[in-house]
Structures are given as C-alpha cells and as structure tokens.
Symmetry: C2
Subunit: 105 residues, 2 copies
DNA sequence: TGTAATACATCGTAACACGAGGTATTACCT
DNA sequence: AGGTAATACCTCGTGTTACGATGTATTACA
C-alpha cells in the first residue's frame, strides 16, 4: 500500500492494537500485520510520539528473563480513536469524489 | 481534518479534479474546497510532482489577457486513480480494525 | 555452531503539507 | 484617483513522518 496513504493511519492502528489489552512492540507488529505492515523503526517512532502526546503510558516488565515494555492506552488515546470516526466521514467524501465514474452523473 | 490523514489523498483529489475536464490552479482549489481544503503552496507542489510523474501535462493559455496553466490528466494519472480503488480496500480494513467496538465481539 | 526469532533502540533521509511571502492583472467601490 | 478584493501564478523554509540501515542482547532450535 502506498506509504503516503498510510500516514496518520498507522498511529490509529497502534492505538487500536493496545486498546483492549496492553501490548508490547514486537506483538503490536505481528498483530497489525494483516492490516498494515510497519517496520520496527516506524513503530518505535510512533510509540515515542504517542507517549509524548500522552495517548499511551509505558510500563517495563520482565517476561522470561527478558524486558518488555508494555503500552497502555489513555483516555486521550481513546478519544483520538473517536475523533478518527469523524475524520473517516471526510475521507469517505474524498473517496466518493475521487472514484466516481463521471462528474455529470 | 488531520493533516497526516490527508496525505496521499490530496494527489488523488487533484487528479480527480482534472479528470473529466482540463482545469487550472485557482479553479482546482475552489472545486476541491467542499472535499479538502488545500493552500496554493500545497497545490503547486502537488501539480509539479504529478507533472514530474507524468500523471498530467501542462498547457499555457491566455484567458482575458491573463495567463492560465491548464492541466490535463494522462493515462498514468487515470491509472493512479484506479489503483486507489485497491488501496481503498486496505484502508477500509484498517478503518474496521481501528473503529470496531471490541476485539472479542 | 549458526541462524532464526524475540525485543529493544538510534540515525539519516526523502517525501510531503503548509505558512509566509512575492509578483501581476482585473474588477469593483467610494 | 485610491484602495481593496479577487484572480492567477510562484518560491522558500520548516516540521512531521515512514522507513531502511544498523546496532545490541537474549532465547530457541537444528
């Protein structure tokens, strides 16, 4: 999929991936694979950004002697998802405009 | 609307705006206003980019003693719109993933 | 022994949207 | 005549972002 079209959508995907249950980097990438492929460098950039925006919080925990950073969505993160529903309406309009067969019909 | 979500969509909007009839900068902005607001600096960047990608051609014509640059879509430009239909399917999947109420339902 | 998987991270780059600013003409109002 | 809005084009710099390349370290398995 076109990289530009993915922009902005990836933040939402990551938020959705931790929405119902805390998750960690590696798992997020695997969970998102059916919907959007993203590299590790992209994901960690996004996680940092979302943390700075207070849309998620981080907690470090040990799992099988290995450290994992678990990400937890905040109220702001949930609100961002809600706002996306409105943005989606506008994107639908754009989609209709772009893909309609003929302007005169 | 979120600037990042618009990314990539704007190119498509511009192509759609000249799809059925050649158009020029100022008119494109006005035609797109109901769907996506974009500044002149953004538009001219996009037009240059699409011209370089051979998705449109340019022709200068005089109108009421004033020069206008008319943009005409090419076969590549039309194909780009067709490819968007496929990209949209993936975006729909992402939308469903992000906005579904609960993972377990 | 090596290689894949797990798990984290940084750096540099290219693409992109946009604000700020610039030039020039036409049209309208007072 | 003077001012302002609309039309019509353009450039430059900046901040955001996705991603490839690269690095570190552990566990699991052939």
């Amino acid at each position: 999929m076109d990289a530009q079209l993915k922009r902005g959508l990836l933040d939402l995907c990551v938020l959705a991936a931790i929405k119902d249950e805390d998750s960690y980097g590696y798992k997020i990438i695997k969970d998102l694979k059916p919907y959007a492929e993203l590299s590790e460098s992209t994901l960690y950039t996004i996680l940092k950004r979302l943390e700075a925006a207070e849309m998620l919080t981080v907690r470090t925990a040990e799992h099988d002697g290995r450290l994992r950073k678990y990400y937890h969505i905040t109220a702001e993160g949930l609100q961002r998802i809600e706002e996306f529903r409105l943005d989606w309406e506008e994107m639908l309009k754009i989609h209709r405009f772009v893909t309609k067969e003929d302007k005169d019909l």
